[in-house]
Subunit: 202 residues, 2 copies
């Protein structure tokens, strides 16, 4: 398998954490990528019309994306239990937790992209709307973080990658001060080798 990679992308991180947890990392070759919302990487576009990372090319040449599809594929390929089974009573609640974590990340990425716009084209209300989503999302995480211990699944991995991204790109936001239960859980979860090996960097 070949994975279009970026060390700064939280969605790539989700996939890499999955690969490490499932013992599949040595079967994945990483390919460099240079993608942004306004600049396309032709090599990625050739595999994924959206031109986004992560994109995983599997053995038969099929390209899989986005991170949710890749993570579920890796879980199946590795015979894992990181996705709850079809008859798991919490299956859809846990999938919605992944959606919440991804939604926090979508909002964080849009807020960050806003800062890269030319001077004069930034719009405070847009950033405020995204930061409100992040705040409400973190409020939910804080109310539930006590239940995350001992859970290693698509929900907790997604939350871990979301909180790690806030550390990486929104250090001034100081989420740990406002959300102590989340911070305590994240500290414990971050000790996993899969998380240690994937700390985001430029």
């Amino acid at each position: 398998m070949k994975l279009f990679f970026s060390s700064a992308s939280p969605y790539v991180r989700k996939c890499t954490v999955f690969a490490l947890e499932l013992g599949l990392a040595d079967r994945i070759e990483t390919l460099p990528s240079k993608v942004s919302p306004v600049l396309r990487d032709a090599s990625v576009v050739q595999a994924n019309p959206l031109g986004k990372v992560p994109t995983l090319i599997i053995e038969d040449g099929v390209a899989l994306f986005d991170s949710r599809v890749i993570c579920e594929y890796l879980n199946a390929e590795g015979g894992g239990t990181l996705f709850p089974a079809a008859d798991h009573p919490q299956r859809f609640a846990i999938l919605a937790q992944q959606a919440l974590a991804d939604g926090i990340l979508d909002a964080a990425l849009l807020a960050r992209y806003e800062t890269t716009r030319p001077e004069g084209t930034q719009w405070d209300a847009w950033v405020a709307g995204q930061m409100e989503k992040i705040k409400s999302g973190l409020d939910w995480v804080e109310a539930h973080a006590d239940t995350f211990y001992d859970r290693v699944d698509v929900g907790t991995i997604s939350f871990g990658c979301a909180l790690g991204y806030l550390d990486f790109r929104f250090a001034d936001y100081g989420w740990r001060n406002k959300y102590p239960k989340s911070a305590a859980w994240f500290e414990a979860f971050s000790a996993r080798p899969s998380m240690q090996a994937t700390v985001p960097h430029v």
Copy 2:
């Protein structure tokens, strides 16, 4: 079940098409919503911290989102085959088709939101980047539309909702002229009662 609804949202449409195809529509009560990237709807936020539609409240009070999670839940609840089974050889390729259609929609929504920004804060390169994603996505659809006939699944339903959204919000884009095979398939697919009943409107 209760669904926070918007007649203009292509992601709500996916869920409603699923409900109709699966014979579940009469078990779903729709709730009004007023959401935008900069204005939050408190009643939606209470169920879904992201404040987005669709959000589905299921019998035990759990809130499911986003559209992918809701569609998969409805498919399971209705005993449907709109999601390929775990052992389906094309399962992940079809899930990636949903991701492609959702990515076309994400780009279209971001391009549209750009037009709602205050004068002077619009950035042409941002819109161009989103429109490139739409173009590459439609190129892929055009190359594969001949294989969509007789397929009613999460991939084709997602493509149908994406093309329907372009008709609704990007009528001037004229995608039918550039993509005749896609247009022919869409015309056939749009005849389904589930698609007829969910044509987007303000």
